[in-house]
Assembly symmetry: C2
Homo-oligomer: 189 residues x 2
DNA sequence: TTGCCAACCGGAGGCTACCTCCGTATTGTT
DNA sequence: AACAATACGGAGGTAGCCTCCGGTTGGCAA
């Protein structure tokens, strides 16, 4: 998960291998989807399969490490939009950003969903960060009267993910589907 | 795909094995998700692995056969709702039905999406059937003024699938998410 | 510097699943 | 009853998963 044990820093060779693995995993997941061969990742990283399993005991642990960074990027985008865009536009843009990000990852939307929904101990932290980001964008839209007051941050995340899945094979319809959703998020008139 | 070659009927033993395989596949997919072991399916059907591959050359072919039947059931439900429920309620109920159906299948939502989105030759027929059903429900809602006129049947299918994925791990929120979506489907006021 | 040991590495090995291929068995027709 | 045509089954080669443990390396203390 982290590059430190929480006690002593990792040995130099361990840290080097950890980072090579992370880099190759990122590339492989992008290229082959979430079920990319772990043995190939180890091979490409120039490392034994045993080393991979030592650093990342399960496939999920590896995916988790890869996406932790990218989650941070998504959260950062939310705060950025909150400062640079008008409320409703910010919300729309952020949902679209998540959706595009998810699609880039092909089968990894499954993993992203786990981050959003699963109560897994290890995912809680990421979850909180991204939900905090969602809340920032959402609250602004609600205060501006362009989003229903009963909408919760996790609803926004789910809808964004839903959008990405729904339009995965028909990207050209993403805008239209998003417009349906956004209409649904406005206060009832 | 079909139990006949289109020419001569299948031999008795072939047909028997075909149906056993289909039954076990249905059970296995339900139990283990879309990546259930094909060898186990053959084993449970009391049939050699070779026989499985002869009838269903790919995993997708098998999934396809299993879901063809269930697609028909979904379509039937749409026509039923069109006769027994008011327009908007019918649309809502049908989206919910699809969503529940998808969730039951765990990882098979992926396959369902393929049916809806993929232009695969073999899926076209199913696609047409289900889209026809979607159109029936949708048109009624549009004529009653409760659905946006620019909404297409495939949008409804995608949204339904999106709903099922989005609420897979939080079924208790399905209703709420659906209400957001339905608000979005109404004509702009 | 040298020596030591905890930390780390690597890959062989046992397992399961995938898919192909072809000798054998079954069906139904003449 | 005999013979094609059709279908069966599982051995076998490949690949991925994960574990286990003998060997190697890095960093610290003397």
């Amino acid at each position: 998960m982290s590059t430190t044990t929480g006690q002593r820093p990792m040995r130099a060779d361990a840290r080097r291998n950890y980072e090579r693995l992370l880099a190759e995993a990122k590339a492989s997941f992008l290229e082959h989807g979430a079920d990319a061969s772990l043995e190939e990742i180890a091979r490409r990283a120039g490392v034994g399969i045993g080393t991979l399993y030592r650093h990342f005991p399960t496939r999920l642990a590896l995916q988790e490490a890869v996406y932790r960074v990218e989650m941070d990027e998504l959260a950062a985008k939310a705060y950025e939009l909150a400062e640079t865009a008008p409320p409703e536009e910010g919300l729309t843009a952020w949902i679209l950003t998540i959706s595009q990000y998810s699609r880039k990852k092909r089968g990894l939307t499954q993993t992203l969903k786990a981050v959003i929904d699963l109560q897994s101990e290890t995912f809680v932290r990421c979850h909180e960060d991204i939900e905090q980001a969602a809340e920032t964008v959402l609250t602004r839209a609600q205060e501006a009267g362009t989003a229903r007051p009963d909408l919760r941050p996790c609803d926004v995340l789910r809808l964004a993910h839903a959008l990405s899945v729904a339009s995965e094979r028909a990207p050209e319809d993403t805008e239209l589907l998003l417009s349906f959703m956004m209409d649904g998020l406005r206060p009832r008139s």
